[in-house]
Amino acid sequence: MVHPIQAGLASLPASLSEASLVMGKSKWTTLFYVLLPNCKASILTGIVLAFAHTVGEFGVVLMIGGNIPGSTRVASIAIYDEVEAMNYGSANFYALILFVITFIILLFVYLINGGYLKRYWK
C-alpha cells in the first residue's frame, strides 16, 4: 500500500505542490486537493495490491491465525488442508476460485488505470 502511493507522489512534478504553496495553501490542503487526487491510479493500485496480498496470505495466518471453518479459515489454508487430506479435487477447485478472483481484480485495476472504462462509457 505504501510503496505504490509513495512512488505515485514522487512521480508528480515538484512544481505542482510548489504552485499550491505559492498560492498560499497549507501543506495539508496541498496534499488532499492537489497531490492525492493526481495520483489516484497509484492509490488504487496500492489498495488492490494490498487486498490481493491479503487474500493470498498464507504463512502468518497458518502460524498464528485460527483455522475455524466459516469463520477464520482463509482460501489459501483451505487449499493447504485439502492437499494434506489428499482431496486434490477440491484443492484444485479452491485454487481455481482464488485464481478467478485475483484475475478479475487485476483486470479491473488495469482497465481503470488504463482509462479503458472511461473511454467505453463516453
Binding site: P13, L16, E18, L21, G24, K25, P37, N38
Partner: protein
Amino acid sequence: MIEIQIQKKLKSASGEMTLNLDCEIKKGSLVTLYGPSGSGKTTTLRILAGLIKPDEGAIVFDGITWYNKNTFLSPQKRKIGFVFQDYALFPNMTIMENLKFAFDKNGNPNELANLVDMMELGKLVDRKPSEISGGQQQRVALARALAGKPELLVLDEPLSALDFKIRVKLQDYIIKIDKELKITTVLVSHDLGEIMKLSDQVLMLEEGKLVRQGKPEELFFNQNMSGKFKFTGEIIELKKQGFIYIATVLIQENTVKVVLTESDIKEIKLGDKVVVVSKAFNPMIYKVK
C-alpha cells in the same frame, strides 16, 4: 520596491558556485533576468518565491522583510504569483477549478470573471488542462497566477516553449497585465526581442553573479550605434565566399543574409546573438554583449 541582497551556494553543472545578488527592483516595473543556462536565474526566482532559502542576506519587499537572518516568510505568506516553466496546472481540476483554487474564497466573483475575459479563456473553463493546447495552458497559468492577486508576479521562461505567433500574443498579455494591474513582474527570458519589448530593466547573470544591469537598450546595444532598423537575431550560418563572408541571421522566424568582411568576422562566431542594423546602404551586424 524590492531590495534583494542574497548569497546562496549552489551546485551547478560546472561545479560549485555562489549566487550573489545585490539589486533593487522598482515597484510596478517589469524586470528580466537574462543569462546563460545554469547562471542562477531560476534559483533567483525560487528564492524570491520562498521555495528556496538563501544562505545569507536579506529580501525586503515594500518595507516588509521577507527574509533576513532571523526571519523567513513562508511562500504562503508572500503575495506571489508564480508561473512555472511547465505551467504546473493541476491535472485533476478543470480550468475554472484551477483558477478558483488560487482565488480568494471571499473575493468578488466578478473579478474572476474579468480575469477569464481578459485572458480570453471563456470557452475553455470547463476543460481539463490536458485537453487544451500549450499556448492556452500558458494563458491559464498566467491567469491562475494573477487570480491570487499577487503583489509580485514571477515568470520562469514563460514563453520559451511556444511558437512565434502565440508568443507575441502572450507578450502583449504580459504588457497589458503590467500596465493595467501595475504588478511588479520578474521574468526569465532568453529572447532578446522579447526582452526589448517587455522589460524596463534587465539583470544579467553569469555564474551566479550580477554582471550588468540597466535598461535593455543600454545593455545590449552600443550607444553610438545608429540605424533606421534594428533587429536582434542569432547567427545560424557563416560561409566564406571569395574574400567576403556571408552570415545568415535568424531573426524571429525569418532569416537574413548579411555580407561581412574579414575584419567583421573576428568578433563573430556561429551561434552569437547579434543585432542587425540597417542604415542607408548595406545592413551591418554587431555582436550583442
